[in-house]
């Protein structure tokens, strides 16, 4: 595979994931609005938001570290897109190496890190509170998320290669069909919810008390880049979960793509349901949930997986 091909697929993933991600974000807003008996925004809303943000002035606060302030959102965006590209190439069966799942795990941490970097570079007190919460949240959901990966890896014959995990599931059925699979899937959905900053875990961006939280000083195109990162993450994260638990899908045939979209919508609906039926958790409750219940559940899942259930 040539470098040009990889670069082209990077660009393709960037464009397609950001467009699909914004549509997914619109679905989230629309369904939320309908649940609250409102009409909700039109389908192009997130595109309009982004285009508007590119036209706005970008303010850099006096106290900020200018380089980090600008570099952080770019870093997050690139890392998420690379993760998306790797997942997509694995689904196309073109890339597979023995530890790619671990690499993706690392890459998906970088968007949260970029928020932390950007927030701390902006030199704002409220941003500092926001990033301290974001940091604790990151430490919180990372451990259960690793359990998710480990369960799926053990179930598919102790491999950390996403390609072989998908192949295993194509021959033996989805991992979700087993006990430990269900446990791993639940933990995965909740950790991703935390990664995406959706409602029960949106404490880092708390509009009410932190005035935008870690992103408080960002304006214009830089804020747009953060929104874009979130949109791409909203596609890449569920795709990882689909590959780990729902057997992946092939993007070369039309039926494959349709099953893929259906699986994606299933996960998105779960996200929206959790988001709309739960109030925001405090930081101590969040940590208790992640480090207490979910980690214990994760360990139980790993034991079950080793026992072959």
């Amino acid at each position: 595979m040539s470098a040009i091909y990889i670069f082209l697929s990077f660009v393709m993933v960037f464009l397609s994931f950001s467009i699909c991600g914004m549509l997914a974000m619109w679905m989230d807003r629309k369904v939320t609005a309908r649940l609250q008996f409102r009409v909700g925004p039109p389908w192009y809303q997130n595109f309009a938001d982004f285009i508007k943000l590119t036209g706005k002035e970008t303010l850099i606060p006096e106290k900020a570290n200018t380089f980090m302030f600008i570099a952080a959102p770019v870093l997050g965006l690139i890392a998420t897109t690379i993760a998306g590209t790797i997942i997509l190439l694995i689904l196309k069966n073109q890339v597979s190496f023995s530890t790619d799942a671990i690499l993706i795990l690392y890459l998906l941490t970088i968007p949260s890190l970029s928020i932390i970097l950007g927030g701390s570079a902006s030199g704002n007190v409220l941003a500092a509170v926001g990033i301290s919460r974001e940091m604790k949240l990151l430490l919180g959901y990372e451990l259960p998320f690793i359990c998710t990966l480990v369960i799926s890896a053990i179930k598919s014959g102790t491999t950390t290669s996403l390609g072989s995990i998908i192949q295993f599931q194509q021959q033996n059925g989805m991992i979700l069909g087993s006990f430990s699979g269900v446990i791993g899937f639940i933990i995965g959905v909740l950790s991703l919810q935390g990664k995406l900053g959706l409602v029960p875990f949106d404490l880092a961006e708390a509009e009410g008390e932190l005035a935008g939280g870690s992103l408080i000083e960002y304006s214009g195109i830089l804020l747009g880049l953060f929104k874009l990162t979130k949109a791409i993450l909203l596609i890449a994260g569920p795709l990882l979960l689909i590959s780990l638990y729902l057997g992946g899908f092939s993007i070369s045939s039309i039926t494959g793509v349709i099953t893929g979209i259906l699986k994606y919508i299933l996960i998105l609906v779960l996200f929206i349901l959790i988001k709309n039926t739960n109030p925001r958790l405090r930081i101590d409750q969040t940590l208790k949930l992640f480090w207490g219940w979910l980690t214990l559940l994760g360990f139980a899942g790993i034991l079950l997986a080793i026992a072959g259930w």
Binding site: R29, G40, K52, G212, L215, I216, E217
Partner: protein, 138 residues
């Protein structure tokens, strides 16, 4: 009209700033978000930071303590931004125009684009005011 202006018209993010109001105007602003009026269908959302805002909604006579703060918030807002004076107080001083604390009205402090009088103005009036402004926006 270019694409960016079109997008701006479809996605106004609102920052709500109280310059010493009696709290009634603020409640009416929040009414706009309820299912009955639902301004999110026009793409308007309430944001928490002036850096994200396209619209500054200012309520109340700007009292002497608030003058500096209102100026500061206006400076912090990313331009282009629209300033809306909500309520008779912000437009002209209303019944408090002779008060000892009067530092405003708003347009003596920062440039105002839209005036929405009323004590407090109805949510319908606010939506009508913004829509009239958007029609004029080039």
């Amino acid at each position: 009209m270019n694409l960016k202006t079109k997008a701006l018209k479809k996605s106004l993010w609102v920052y709500h700033m109280s310059g010493g109001s009696c709290n009634n105007c603020d409640i009416e602003i929040l009414d706009c978000l309820t299912p009955k009026f639902d301004i999110e269908r026009f793409g308007m959302v309430l944001v928490g930071s002036p850096r994200h805002a396209d619209v500054l909604l200012c309520t109340g006579i700007v009292n002497k303590k608030c003058v500096e703060r209102v100026k500061e918030v206006y400076k912090q807002t990313a331009k282009p931004c629209v300033v809306v004076a909500i309520g008779s107080c912000a437009c002209s001083g209303g019944m408090f125009r002779d008060g000892y604390q009067m530092g405003g009205p708003l347009d003596t402090i920062i440039p105002v684009d839209v005036y929405i009088p009323g004590c407090p103005p109805k949510p319908e009036a606010m939506i009508a005011g913004i829509v009239k402004f958007l029609e004029k926006l080039k």
